[in-house]
Amino acid sequence: MSHHIVEVRNLQHVYADGTAALKDVSFIITHGESVGIIGANGAGKSTLLQHLNGSLEPTGGSIHIGHTPLSKGTLPDIRRTVGMVFQDPDDQLFMPTVFDDVAFGPLNLGFAPADVEERVTEVLELVGAGHLRDKPPYHLSGGEKKRVAIATVLSMSPDILVMDEPTNGLDPFARRQLMKLLCDFKHTRIFTSHDLDMVLELCGRVIVLHEGEVRADGPALEIFGNDKLLAECRLEKPLSMQNCSACGSKKSNVKSPDSSACQGR
């Protein structure tokens, strides 16, 4: 239970070339929450995500995953807890076949081959990719790659799912499929995205990053209702909250909290 909490305190990161990507970031994400981290290009979203499983070391501040501080010693445990889905699935799918890729994590965790087999089958079915099992990753479509990439992470049964731009480059159908899948998860979920409609549908809470700092943190509808804040952070309202330019109908606030396809609790 306590494993699912993410606590970031005064996180700072300065790259080797002197760029301060994160100046002061703090937030707490509790069990089962679905949080969208949004912000303009260069706001520090990806840098922040890379800290959450220790791919980058903080210059200052600290990160706790379920009350365990992130450090060299706790890294293996934390990497098991925090499942990270990369933006480009080609970076994540490096093994010869889908099966090998999904089995990579569990094998590294030291599971017995029979258990691995079972787990891989289960996870692939879950993401609707059972039929892709023996295919090499380069013969998959973009949507299939994304779902398999998620499976590779799920097979390690993480408590927290972190995803960088999950809907990036997907066609509308694949995007819809993926969103349905994500909304069924019971994990604590953290997304970064420029797809604000997706954020609105999947996330109850939104954190706005601007120039390496948390500019706003609150319920999605509240944040997306604040035009001034969005403009200052080089963002805009999700399309579903904007007036329809084609037919002129006013769709003010069509998305009431319970009409969303999915509401992060």
């Binding site: 890379q50 499983n53 791919s55 293996p76 990497r79 098991r80 499942g83 990270m84 990369f86 480009d88 080609d90 970076d91 994540q92 490096f94 093994m95 010869p96 076949t97 090998d100 089995a103 990579f104 994590g105 094998l107 590294n108 965790l109 081959p113 691995v116 023996d134 295919k135 090499p136 990753p137 380069y138 013969h139 590779t152 992470v153 390690m156």
Partner: protein, 270 residues
């Protein structure tokens, strides 16, 4: 090279062929690797003027193609694109070696032409055997077979990485070079200067990708050890396959079947 682009398409096609489900596809890769090596060794062990004894060896590609359900024309087309170096070197044989070796009525055929034809036949057989091996086995399985036959693991693993990322990187560089082509007029802009920075950029992006991949590996608990998960079986079908073909190749190598058959025919019907 545009030809490399089409070669990559061919590579994808060959790779897809390996997904077939024929009895030959199902054999353990080691059996196929061993048989292919025996085949190649037998073919190249003939002396330079041997031609007729090479023909019976075509039975191997013919049977493999038909039994594995490979598209014969595709394989033939791939084989027909003979290595240019072979042609360039081989074509000197008829020029240099002019001694008449075979008299067909009024037509004298020099040793050079015969050895050139022999080189072509060897080339078709050896290259064809390689393609067929990949088409019925798949690159990954060939690598794993070689690893079980003693290839070092480090080498095998990075070979798999290489194969995986050929598909990603050739697309990337294809896009980059198309972009350059579209903005250059004729030969201008295609020179060595733009090449240097284009390839330099590609290299840096590749490097970053390698870093991300390593990150993705660490994120999934990689500790420097690759776990082999694939069960392998070298059972009766594999043993039969290896024994049958190896014996046939060795018999063909020791007995010139063409010669015997031809002698029977020309002997019977003079």
């Amino acid at each position: 090279m545009a030809s490399i682009h089409s070669a990559v398409l061919d590579l994808k096609r060959l790779d897809l062929l390996a997904n077939g489900n024929s009895p030959i596809h199902r054999l353990d890769a080691r059996a196929k690797v061993v048989v292919t090596l025996v085949f190649i060794l037998c073919v190249v062990s003939y002396n330079r003027y041997e031609l007729s004894a090479l023909f019976p060896f075509f039975i191997f590609p013919a049977i493999m193609i038909s039994q594995a359900g490979l598209p014969p024309l595709f394989i033939l087309r791939k084989i027909a694109l003979l290595c240019p170096f072979v042609l360039a070197v081989g074509i000197f044989n008829p020029v240099i070696d002019r001694g008449i070796l075979l008299q067909l009525g009024p037509l004298g055929i020099s040793g050079g032409w015969i050895s050139f034809a022999s080189i072509l036949a060897r080339s078709m057989l050896t290259v064809g055997a390689g393609f067929i091996l990949v088409a019925v086995t798949g690159f990954t399985a060939v690598c794993q077979a070689l690893e079980r036959l003693g290839m070092p693991r480090v080498f095998a693993v990075q070979l798999l990485f290489l194969y995986r990322y050929i598909f990603v990187l050739t697309e990337e560089s294809g896009r980059a070079s198309r972009a350059r082509e579209l903005r250059s007029c004729g030969k201008k802009g295609q020179g060595i200067h733009s090449f240097g920075s284009l390839v330099g950029h590609l290299l840096l992006r590749t490097w970053q990708r390698a870093e991300r991949i390593h990150m993705a590996m660490l994120a999934r608990g990689f500790t420097g050890v690759f776990h082999a998960s694939r069960p392998s079986r070298f059972g009766a079908p594999e043993i039969r396959f290896v024994l049958f073909w190896s014996t046939l190749f060795i018999v063909l190598r020791l007995q010139n079947v063409s010669q015997l058959l031809g002698s029977l025919i020309t002997g019977l019907f003079p």
